[in-house]
């Protein structure tokens, strides 16, 4: 059984009368990527700040690898790699100088520091630009180095706070691939985002946060199941649509069929595994299918269902 790397319970933070985080509890095991999904202002960064030990909490507890953790514990901070939302680099230092500086703060030195710095530069694809000042880097390159700094100390827990904000699609893909790779190496990853696609693509489990409270958490499938909503399949087709609709309605997994002007619309319990049977049935009814579109309930729908507002409000 995988070990729990991060456990936080009952986290609370208030600023005067405004409660930013209320009774937040998260557990992440090694090799797991946990996504904290919520709109801007939901409390993601405040939660992250308490977890990494930047911000003192009002209540609750955090343990890293079983050790109590707070703002003053340097021993547990050594286990964390933190990638803040804003670029946290010194533009007038070179890429390598930035890495070496933060590496030294984490206790690396000498040959180990140089080796680890080179490894990270290789991972983020900046080996050839390492000697140039960060000021000369493109946005995507800076963002990659920014993430690289979080990897220097081979953390047990990697915390990434919206690492793809303001990043071009190509760099975003590279970042997501990197994160997936790191989790594959046994690192526990806490990833905050307000991009539903990223959470769906990257995270083993997702926590939905809004107004400082964790509204729900689980795998994508767990969360979607909460909606008790079926997948929607739209077939663009020619032929005897009425006959095809009749045949499809007899399938156990299909709960409803509508005949539309240029095709059919079906509600299916789980579209993916049943799609071959649906297409075979329409074929037998003499209908030619020109395109298929499957719309599954997604995390956006879950968020809307749980909070009554859209994720990007």
């Amino acid at each position: 059984m995988a070990e729990v790397v991060l456990r936080c319970e009952g986290l609370r933070k208030a600023y005067g009368t405004v409660v930013a985080i209320d009774d937040l509890g998260i557990e992440i095991t090694e090799g797991e990527t946990y996504g904290l999904l919520g709109p801007n202002g939901a409390g993601k960064t405040t939660a992250i700040s308490m977890i990494v030990g930047i911000l003192a909490r009002d209540a609750g507890s955090v343990t890293i690898d079983g050790q109590p953790h707070d703002v003053h514990r340097t021993a547990t901070k050594r286990l964390i790699g933190y990638v803040p939302q804003e670029l946290a680099l010194y533009p007038d230092l070179t890429g390598r100088e930035n890495l070496h500086f933060f590496g030294r703060l984490h206790g690396l030195s000498g040959r180990e520091l140089r080796r680890r710095g080179d490894e990270v530069l290789d991972v983020v694809g900046l080996s050839d630009r390492a000697g140039q000042r960060v000021r000369t880097y493109s946005g995507g390159m800076s963002r990659r180095l920014h993430i690289g700094v979080g990897l220097l100390n081979r953390p047990r827990l990697l915390v990434l706070d919206e690492p793809t904000v303001g990043v071009d699609p190509q760099s975003r893909n590279a970042i997501l691939d990197n994160v997936r790779q790191l989790a594959g190496q046994g690192m526990a990853v806490l990833y905050t985002t307000h991009y539903m696609e990223e959470a769906e693509r990257l995270c083993d489990r997702v926590g939905i946060i809004d107004s400082g409270r964790l509204r729900a958490e689980g795998t994508r499938r767990d969360l979607v199941t909460m909606l008790d909503r079926e997948d929607e399949v739209e077939l663009l087709a020619d032929g005897d649509l009425a006959a095809a609709a009749q045949a499809l309605a007899e399938l156990a997994e299909v709960s409803a069929v509508d005949v539309r002007e240029a095709g059919l619309r079906l509600l299916v319990a789980e579209a993916g595994p049943n799609l071959p049977q649906i297409l075979a049935t329409t074929g037998r009814a003499g209908v030619t299918v020109r395109s298929v579109q499957v719309r599954e309930p997604n995390l956006e729908s879950v968020f809307l269902h749980l909070t009554g507002k859209a994720l990007r409000d």
């Binding site: 930047i54 803040p84 946290a88 010194y90 703060l105 700094v149």
Partner: protein
């Protein structure tokens, strides 16, 4: 401790790559020091007067004035007195600005004095040298007072029933007494630095506070640029971050001061005094400047506010601390200047010019005391600077 040096070294490297900081720390102070010391008078032992005397009388009273009074002045390097034969030539020299003032002793001057008549000693001053001309008038006035004193002595003796067999001889003996006034140029030179040292020192200390301001501003900038959260998340204690950053500021302050001192020595011949004493003074000054600026920054709510307060303080302290002119000459301001590190530094340098290392003890202790107090208060208010 290692982490303090890691942070300080990183900051020092960044400071050395910061053109604004180098402009304020080295280029501006050095440029202004060279300019001021070249263009302006020596603020300390710098009073110089060039006089000419035309003795058309050549009698004993005229000779007493020219030889005893003006002759005594020429013994001091402050005064330069030339002799010319005619009043017209002396007048021409004043008009040309070749001298600051002319003394003209007209023919019959000694005879008038001996006969008890009114004698005239003319002083012509150059309008562009008001101080030197004023001093010339005072010298002449002093001599006139002395002559009157001689006459009075004779008159009182006679009126009191005493016998004066030879009134003219008596008056002459009175006038033959030692010169009525002495001027010492050494008094100012002993207490103020020469311009070639004063201006580099003044500019260095003035701009050092801007260097300190810029280095302290980087603590606040770590917050606005986003690196502070990363520092706070690293396994580093918060006082370590603050001390490391302040140490980086002290480092760049020392670098700037050292470069300025060496450059001004080579370029304009500044003389700083015994290296050990100077090093102690400079180190104490840099610590005090950094501590003071850091403390000011803890009181501000925003980076802009902090920068505004720090720069205002730097300018005011520079002005009242005597970095542009030696305020020891102005009584009220002289007292006020002791409230600034600038004054203690300049005072220390001035006292050190005599070559006695013990002279810097008091200024160094005062500056270190200020540094200790401001650093302590800043550490107590660490949450105002080192926070996400």
């Amino acid at each position: 401790m290692r982490q303090i040096f890691v942070i300080a070294t990183k900051d020092l490297r960044l400071h050395l790559r910061n053109s604004t900081l180098l402009l304020f720390g080295i280029v501006l102070p050095l440029g202004l020091a060279v300019l001021f010391s070249t263009v302006l008078d020596d603020p300390g032992g710098g009073f110089q007067a060039r006089y000419v005397v035309a003795d058309e009388d050549r009698g004993p009273a005229a000779n007493a004035f020219v030889t005893d009074v003006l002759g005594a002045l020429t013994a001091e390097s402050t005064f330069d007195v030339q002799r010319v034969a005619a009043a017209t030539e002396a007048t021409r020299m004043v008009d040309r600005g070749a001298v600051d003032a002319a003394f003209i002793v007209p023919a019959g001057f000694s005879a008038d004095i001996a006969a008890g008549r009114t004698a005239t000693l003319r002083v012509l001053g150059d309008v562009d040298s008001p101080i030197a001309a004023y001093v010339a008038r005072e010298i002449a006035q002093s001599y006139a007072t002395e002559v009157r004193g001689g006459r009075l002595a004779v008159a009182v003796t006679v009126a009191g029933g005493g016998r004066v067999d030879d009134p003219a001889g008596f008056a002459a003996r009175v006038q033959a007494l030692p010169p009525p006034l002495t001027v010492s140029a050494g008094s100012t030179a002993d207490h103020e630095l020469a311009s070639r040292t004063f201006y580099p020192a003044g500019m260095a200390v003035f701009f050092l506070f801007f260097v300190a301001m810029l280095s302290v501003s980087t603590i606040l900038a770590e917050r606005t640029t986003g690196t502070m959260p990363r520092l706070l998340a690293a396994p580093v204690r918060r006082p370590t971050i603050l001390v490391g950053k302040l140490l980086g500021g002290v480092g760049i302050g020392l670098v700037a001061m050292s470069v300025l001192m060496v450059s001004s020595t080579l370029l304009i011949g500044a003389r700083w005094g015994p290296p050990l004493g100077v090093a102690a003074l400079v180190t104490a000054l840099v610590l005090a400047a950094t501590g003071l600026m850091a403390l000011v920054a803890t009181a501000a709510r925003t980076t802009e506010q902090a920068t505004g307060w720090m720069s205002t303080l730097a300018v005011l302290m520079g002005m009242f601390g005597g970095t542009f002119a030696p305020l020891a000459r102005v009584e009220g301001l002289a007292v006020l200047s002791y409230a600034t590190p600038h004054r203690w530094f300049l005072q220390g340098l001035t006292d050190l010019a005599g070559g006695d290392l013990r002279a810097v003890v008091v200024p160094v202790v005062v500056l270190l005391g200020l540094a200790a107090a401001t650093f302590s208060l800043t550490l107590l208010r660490i949450g105002k600077l080192v926070r996400p």
